[in-house]
Amino acid sequence: MAKILLIEDDPDQVMLYSIKFKMEGLDLICAYNGREGLEMARREKPQLILSDVVMNNMDGMEMLKQLKADPKIKDIPVVMLTNLNKKELKEKAKELGAKDFWAKTEVMPQEVANRVKKMLKIVK
């Protein structure tokens, strides 16, 4: 079962994705801030990371920067999943090495799960 790491500070979002991903046969592990997410990435070696941007205790962009600087985990693809839908932010995330940038209000949990599955097949 593919292991996905979700870094998200809103417990309601976490609960929603947990159920949807479980139904889709994906193993979702969760972290509630960037720092925790980095530690979990190093420990669990997920196949994909979905990360929020606005979080206390290390935001998503800083997490991405540090992840790409760590040779052991730098190859894990990261998708930013956020409510901030700004062009500059998208460009910066791509520059830092994000695979993609999805807006939470636009992409429903089912669509997120579909895109993740598609992406993992490509990665594989």
């Binding site: 309601d12 949807k20 509630y32 409510n83 901030l84 949990p109 089912q110």
Partner: protein
């Protein structure tokens, strides 16, 4: 002939000084220039008297006046600078004036200064006169050094003006110093008649400077003086008539000169007036441009703040929307059919809470926009005398249920005696106080929240005290910012908009004299203090 020339030079000096002074009687530059011109004119006039009457007293007066002229020119040079003369400059000048007075007295009482006068071109100086000459030369060199320093400090236009006038002064002073002081000290007095006419150089270069550079902004003065000079010359011609036809011709020339002079002055006046109007318009235009630039900058800053506010506000709004949409989409695509009824209920409850949060955020954003302007003030036009006890009771009644739900004790502590009224708007003040008490309840896990009312001599003091999580020191500075949230409270309470404290501060500070502050210790609780001025009787 030379006497007449000296008289004309004296009159020209008086005219020059008088007109420059009249142009701006309150200007430091005009006063000091006028004084210098007047003193030079007086000095030249005394020379005229001396040539005519050969009196020792007049000669003594001429020599007494000379060092004062140098001091007056130094004052004029000092007045050209925008800053007032320094204290040391004033003190040194006062000292020299004292010396000048001393020499003046000595000049009149001691025969060692001027021994005797035989004629206008033949007088004998005493031994003290040589010392006086040295003093004059020292004074002269100090003036040159001072002038050079001021010259280096000045801008280009002033330099050009000063260069010309300096040349005039130099020629006058050097000639006067040589024929009036140095040569007499060696017993040669026959060239003395040349000293005072030398001030014609000062007059010529001053006029040239006035006309070429609009020196002292008195081009019109130059024209007036020139015109007066022409009228004066034609008047002299009129006085020297020989026969009737000569008189008629001279009178005609005199009349024509007056008309010409009048027209000349009028045309220069018109041009100066037009130029002044253009300059005034130019000044206005420049002022408007500066104002426009400042406004554009302010607008740019406002737009940037607005853009930042919109970014954060849209994020705050989208956060509950994404949960609502996500959950409802899962009900719609049948995913929720596969979870238990209890879990379905939990998700629906989440959706309801997120919708409530959305409502709170929208209301707070609207209120924040309302209070976040410079125009938002609560003054006598929008406020009336109110009792703080009434406002506190309303807040208590609104929030007591929410406190009891969280098993917290909410109480109002107030003095037995009725507090004096404050000038406020009850709706806004209730919102501010409600935001403080609501935060206290939401961020307090156990214990109590107190609303404490009191007064000092000038103010009503409202304290909202809780035994909650407190605000970490690192977060305390930003707590009144829009969407600020303490790092230790992020996951505790998510129904707020992050605008409560911002709105409270804006409302309190919209009152004249209204202040809000807090003290907090992480893990021990927070106390917000609001002070509002009591209405003075």
């Amino acid at each position: 002939m030379i006497a007449l020339f000296i008289l004309i030079v004296a009159i020209l000096n008086f005219i020059l000084g008088f007109y420059v002074f009249l142009n701006n009687p309150k200007g430091r530059i005009n006063i000091s220039f006028g004084l210098s011109s007047f003193l030079i004119g007086l000095w030249v006039f005394l020379n005229f008297i001396f040539i005519k009457y050969t009196s020792i007293y007049v000669l003594q007066a001429i020599y007494t006046l000379a060092p004062f002229i140098i001091i007056s020119i130094a004052w004029w040079v000092a007045s050209l600078q925008t800053v007032k003369p320094s204290k040391s400059f004033v003190r040194i000048n006062a000292l020299f004036i004292l010396f000048n007075c001393f020499w003046g007295v000595l000049m009149f009482i001691s025969p060692q200064m001027i021994e005797k006068v035989n004629s206008a071109l033949d007088y004998t100086t005493g031994s003290f006169f040589n010392v006086f000459t040295v003093y004059i030369l020292i004074l002269f060199f100090i003036f040159i050094i001072y002038f050079s320093l001021q010259y280096r400090k000045s801008d280009k236009i002033f330099r050009d003006q000063m260069r010309l006038i300096f040349l005039g002064i130099m020629m006058t002073v050097v000639i006067a110093a040589v024929v009036g002081f140095v040569l007499p000290a060696f017993g040669i007095t026959r060239f003395n008649f040349l000293d005072s006419p030398s001030s014609i150089f000062f007059i010529i270069f001053s006029f040239y400077s006035i006309i070429k550079y609009k020196f002292l902004n008195v081009r019109v003065i130059g024209t007036e003086v020139f015109a007066t000079f022409l009228v004066f010359l034609s008047f002299l011609g009129l006085l020297r008539w020989i026969d009737l036809s000569d008189l008629v011709l001279s009178a005609a020339i005199f009349g024509a000169t007056i008309i010409f002079a009048g027209l000349l002055i009028r045309s220069v006046f018109t041009e100066i007036k037009r130029r002044e109007e253009v300059e005034k318009l130019n000044v206005k235009l420049n002022k408007a441009a500066v104002e426009l630039k400042a406004r554009a900058k302010h607008l740019e800053k406002l737009l940037q703040m607005r853009s930042e506010f919109l970014d954060i506000a849209s994020h705050q709004l989208k956060t509950p929307v994404s949960v609502i949409r996500g959950t409802l989409s899962m009900f719609q695509d049948g995913s929720m059919d596969k979870v238990s009824k209890a879990e379905q209920k939990k998700f629906l409850n989440n959706v309801f809470q997120k919708a409530n949060k959305l409502n709170v955020i929208i209301n707070d954003i609207l209120r924040a926009s309302e209070v976040d302007t410079d125009e938002f003030v609560i003054d006598k036009n929008s406020a009336k005398p109110i009792q703080i006890e009434d406002v506190a009771t309303c807040v208590y009644n609104d929030l007591i249920d929410s406190a009891q739900e969280r098993k917290l004790k909410l109480e109002i502590i107030k003095p037995a005696k009725k507090l004096p009224p404050i000038l406020s708007n009850a709706d806004f003040l209730e919102q501010a106080l409600s935001n403080l008490v609501n935060n206290a309840i939401k961020y307090t896990a156990q214990g109590q929240v107190k609303i404490i009312l009191s007064q000092d001599q000038d103010n009503i003091i409202i304290k909202v005290e809780d035994s909650g999580v407190g605000i970490p020191l690192a977060d305390q500075k930003k707590m009144f910012d829009k969407f600020a949230r303490a790092s230790n409270a992020v996951n505790m309470y998510t129904d707020g908009s992050g605008l409560g404290l911002f709105i409270a501060k804006k409302i309190i500070e919209a009152h004249k004299g209204g202040q809000i502050s807090f003290v907090s210790q992480e893990g021990r609780g927070t106390t917000f203090t609001v002070t509002m001025p009591i209405i003075k009787k």
